[in-house]
């Protein structure tokens, strides 16, 4: 059984290491799928529906096919079929240039019989709504979760809060849109893909084109963000490969910004009608929720509740509502931000009702000791005692307030990764595995682990990932599973490679293996010292190449987090200005502290957008999105960023993933801070100035 040893003693583990891909990324040399230019490559583009619902009655590709520079046009929907949302794929073209492809799209003729649509959650649930899915009243089956005796719970409650919390549809908005470059060589398909799963994408391409998997190669050297939305070829990938096959030329097909925003996934909305009770001693005794949400036509709407708190009696009910809009996909901590925002707000409301400090009340109901320590650390850092004792009581127009939010994530990784470490006779070291780097820094983490084991520097290690060709599979990068899945196997591969080198050297000079020590770039054999290079050169014609194995003992799940926010609310304009956010996150055993802090910042900033800015807005009349662009869909920009204290809370545990947990507590902390500032609660995200002003007016 392998062990990480004491990370604190390592000169690399848990220290600040610069990203290996840094030099390529700052000079523009890093090639993303979007940047791949193949000889003879054509540009693909998709014609999308501008209507939300209708029956396709005619589709004529010939005007496009006849245009000079257009090499192929294919249908992506059959005549007679139903168009079900704005942005649905109708046809695709491949042309010599991007601009010609755009012209060709416009030249395609299609006709449709319009059908009634619905893009509003409430309307879709009403009797008068058109039936748009195979769900009764457009509502999926209820998913019910029960525990204890709710009725008994209510009788013991001294205080009860009833409230409705709602959250918006958030769009992933990956800066590199979904897309592929597809190239055929006979029956061999090579695809450059902007994906979170090279092996999963290979499998899906192979299935779609009925090819053996080993005839498909998927490459993702760099990729520009996925956040849960990029796990397979999608219609666009299939279209790219089909166009490439038809033309015999490579085809690049990246989604346009509008296509990306409308069709490439989102975090479903949620409306939670909550009733909860607590005793005056501060114990939660009953919790009841009916929650529903929409992502579009798909499922996936949900929330976590009662989340990190223990409640003896509860009942939760969840269901999905369909609307004519692009479907949801996994999005950084699916269902958690929705649940956390409602629970964080609820805990604050209950605490106030029983006259208890919100943090104290949380601690009484949250059994996680790591989070208790995080509450203390964060409270000190933000200055919790500066909080308004009576919410909204500060004088003046601009009022400040402080709030707290909590989160929890699994992220323990799992079996399935194969990794290999090679030591070559020239001293170079390669680490090879089939994972991919979405920007999380796994490439650098792998180098750190191998370097730490072999006494080298991370820059001495060549990390080969994001390619299915070496045949060393790894899972998709989702659920904060990448590092805890990959690290153990890389670690054991490096250990095995080191052992092989030691055995080889021991045999060579005829000593016992114990006398060979590899450390800090050199190798000591008895009284002799060799440089790493010299030691490796003794391999002659050989190469050491060792595979690692899964080791349960090197990883761990369950990452607790707490965040604190300080805000300033302008009661005349309704503007919420963030002053400071403190994020205290259990990161398990940290491999790269620099990248970890980046991850924490990134999660918080995603949470800021969720709390204050982002919202997919659908127009009821036309059934179209009003903000499928980066002007009107607001993601956090430089001006919205407050001081962020990213605290990686060391717990000396094992390796875990933190991509997701860090984005969960932010919105609740901000919402509670807004309440503390103005004394009026906004129960709907995003907290925009109009909502703040309306709430103030109604108070």
């Amino acid at each position: 059984m392998a062990e990480w040893g004491e990370a604190r003693k390592s000169s690399l583990l848990g220290k600040y290491t610069q990203r290996l891909s840094g030099p390529q990324k700052v000079t523009g040399q890093a090639k993303y799928t979007f940047d791949i230019n193949r000889p003879g490559m054509l540009y693909g583009r998709i014609l999308r529906s501008h209507i939300p619902r209708g029956t396709l009655t005619a589709l004529d590709l010939s005007p496009a096919q006849q245009m000079p520079g257009v090499k192929a046009a294919i249908p992506l929907i059959e005549v007679g079929k139903e168009i079900r949302y704005e942005g649905q794929e109708i046809a695709a073209v491949a042309a010599d240039t991007k601009d010609i492809a755009a012209d060709a799209i416009r030249a395609i003729r299609f006709d449709y019989d319009p059908l009634d649509h619905v893009v509003d959650l409430g309307e879709s649930m009403s009797e008068s709504s058109p039936q748009i899915r195979d769900w009764e009243n457009n509502q999926s089956d209820r998913q019910i979760d029960e525990k204890g005796d709710l009725q008994a719970g209510w009788t013991t409650a001294d205080a009860v809060v009833e409230a409705t919390y709602s959250t918006e549809v958030q769009v992933h908005t990956c800066l590199e849109s979904h897309g592929h470059v597809a190239e055929w060589d006979g029956d061999q398909l090579t695809v450059w893909a902007s994906t979170q799963a090279v092996f999963g994408t290979r499998r899906d391409f192979a299935r779609h084109f009925e090819l053996p998997e080993d005839k498909v190669r998927v490459i993702t050297e760099h990729m520009g963000g996925g956040f849960g939305s990029k796990f397979g070829p999608g219609v666009e990938g299939q279209a790219a490969a089909k166009l490439a096959k038809e033309t015999g030329q490579p085809v690049k097909l990246m989604l346009t910004r509008k296509g990306e925003q409308n069709t490439a996934g989102n975090r479903p909305s949620m409306v939670q009608h909550v009733k909860a009770g607590a005793t005056k001693e501060g114990k939660l005794v009953a919790y009841e929720v009916s929650g529903y949400g929409t992502s579009g036509l798909g499922g996936g709407a949900g929330f976590t509740g009662p989340y990190v708190y223990q409640v003896p009696n509860y009942r939760t009910e969840k269901f999905n509502v369909a609307i004519n809009a692009g479907s949801g996909r996994a999005f950084r901590a699916p269902r958690h931000p929705q649940g956390a925002f409602a629970m964080d707000s609820l805990m604050d409301e209950l605490a106030e009702k029983i006259g208890m400090d919100s943090l104290e009340f949380r601690k009484l109901n949250d059994p996680n000791e790591i989070r208790h320590a995080e509450y203390d650390r964060g409270a000190e850092e933000i200055g919790w005692n500066r909080r308004q004792k009576v919410a909204g009581s500060a004088p003046g127009i601009q009022k400040r307030g402080i709030g707290v939010g909590s989160g929890q994530w699994g992220g323990g990784g799992g079996k399935g990764t194969k990794a290999r470490v090679n030591i070559n006779s020239d001293g170079t070291v390669e680490a090879v595995t089939g994972t991919q780097d979405l920007g999380t820094g796994i490439r650098t983490a792998i180098a750190i682990i191998v370097a730490d084991e072999l006494g080298l520097q991370p820059t001495d290690i060549t990390v080969k990932i994001g390619d299915t060709l070496p045949g060393l599979p790894s899972g998709g990068s989702g659920g904060s599973q990448t590092t805890p899945s990959v690290a153990p196997v890389v670690k054991t591969a490096a250990m095995a490679a080191k052992e092989s080198l030691i055995n080889h050297l021991a045999e060579k000079v005829n000593v016992v293996a114990d006398e060979v020590v590899i450390k800090e770039g050199s190798v000591t054999i008895g009284n002799n010292q060799l440089s790493w290079k010299e030691a490796a050169s003794t391999l002659g014609m050989e190469t050491i190449s060792e595979e690692g194995s899964w080791d349960e003992n090197l990883r761990e799940g369950g990452a607790a987090g707490a965040q604190f926010a300080e805000v300033e609310v302008d009661t005349e304009t309704g503007q919420v200005k963030l002053i400071k956010i403190v994020a205290v996150q259990d990161c398990g055993l940290i491999i790269n502290r620099l990248a970890t802090e980046s991850q924490i910042n990134g999660g918080v900033i995603g949470g800021i957008g969720y709390a204050l800015l982002e919202d997919r807005i659908m127009d009821g009349q036309t059934g179209r999105s009003l903000n499928s662009n980066l002007i009107d869909y607001k993601v956090a920009g430089a001006q919205e960023i407050p001081e962020i204290r990213a605290i990686a809370h060391d717990t000396d545990r094992k390796v875990t993933g933190i991509g997701e947990p860090v984005t969960i507590p932010t919105a609740g902390a901000i919402a509670n801070a807004v309440y503390n500032a103005i004394g009026v609660r906004v129960r709907s995200l995003p907290i925009t100035p109009d909502k703040v002003l309306t709430a103030l007016e109604e108070a």
Partner: protein, 282 residues
């Protein structure tokens, strides 16, 4: 509609579809407006009519500081390449859209040139990019960004400068930021034909031989990048900031970088990187 009978050079255009209410009011920036029109045309549904109307701005509107001479110069430069605004509009590609254009200064858009593929005007431009001169044949609508990323010069050589990214394709994200005569510019909002005679620097041209620019070094040191897709834009914009203001405060850095978006959320470390690069450059 004010300005409907205007015959002077215009400062603004309003574009709307006859079957939809809200017009999009666009100010004619030096390079931007024409591209905006391109987009609106692309998004039109086949049964719509596109109406374009233009006029002059009132003194107090945002762009009123634009010098009239600049505008003239700009038009003149377009003319130098043999393309008039009329021809430009012809090359737009209006698809199935019937266009009504007023006033006369904007000319009528040809309603079928693009769909038939006929008569798309082309011109050869000479561009100086990272101190190297390229001759490239472009359509009038071709953006500078498209030339950098996808352009092929008249010798058949790909330009292949893919550092600048197309993210929003309409001046909203900064992913395509480059330097034109030392100032940061969204290359998706500039037409290639308007870049003639200017010195273009992309992220690939910032490093001196193999020596990284201090901004680039600082970005690596401070981990001011994650997926890195926004990074070239931020690096170039940051360099431009420091060239103008060697001692920016954090507030100034935030304000100056507000034209760039990073979805991974690297901003805090970008601010640190820019501040530390400023120190290094002293």
């Amino acid at each position: 509609m004010q300005g409907a009978s205007c015959v002077e050079p215009i400062d603004w255009v309003e574009v709307w579809l006859s079957n939809r209410g809200d017009p999009a009011h666009l100010h004619l920036s030096k390079d931007g407006c024409r591209i905006h029109i391109r987009y609106l045309v692309q998004e039109v549904c086949p049964t719509s009519r596109l109406v374009i109307q233009g006029g002059q701005m009132a003194e107090d509107t945002t762009r009123s500081t634009d010098q009239p001479e600049d505008r003239q110069k700009d038009l003149h430069q377009v003319n130098k390449t043999g393309l008039s605004r009329r021809n430009f509009l012809k090359g737009l590609g209006t698809g199935a859209v019937a266009a009504t254009v007023a006033p006369a200064t904007l000319a009528e858009a040809d309603s079928h040139s693009a769909t038939t593929g006929a008569e798309i005007t082309r011109a050869t431009v000479k561009l100086s990019i990272n101190q190297q001169v390229y001759q490239i044949e472009v359509e009038p609508r071709t953006t500078l960004l498209t030339v950098l990323r996808d352009g092929i010069d008249t010798g058949g050589q790909r330009i292949d400068l893919t550092g600048a990214k197309e993210v929003c394709d309409r001046g909203a994200c900064g992913g395509c930021t480059i330097l034109v005569d030392g100032r940061s510019v969204y290359s998706c909002m500039m037409l290639a034909i308007d870049a003639e005679g200017k010195e273009i620097t992309t992220v690939e041209g910032l490093a001196d031989d193999n020596e990284l620019h201090p901004v680039q070094e600082a970005f690596i040191e401070h981990d001011a990048l994650m997926c890195g897709f926004c990074t070239p834009g931020f690096v170039v914009a940051s360099k431009a900031i420091l060239d103008q203001n060697p001692n920016p405060t954090r507030e100034e850095i935030q304000a100056e970088l507000s034209g760039n978006i990073c979805r991974c959320g690297t901003y805090p470390f970008i601010f640190e990187a820019v501040a530390s690069a400023a120190k290094k450059m002293k």
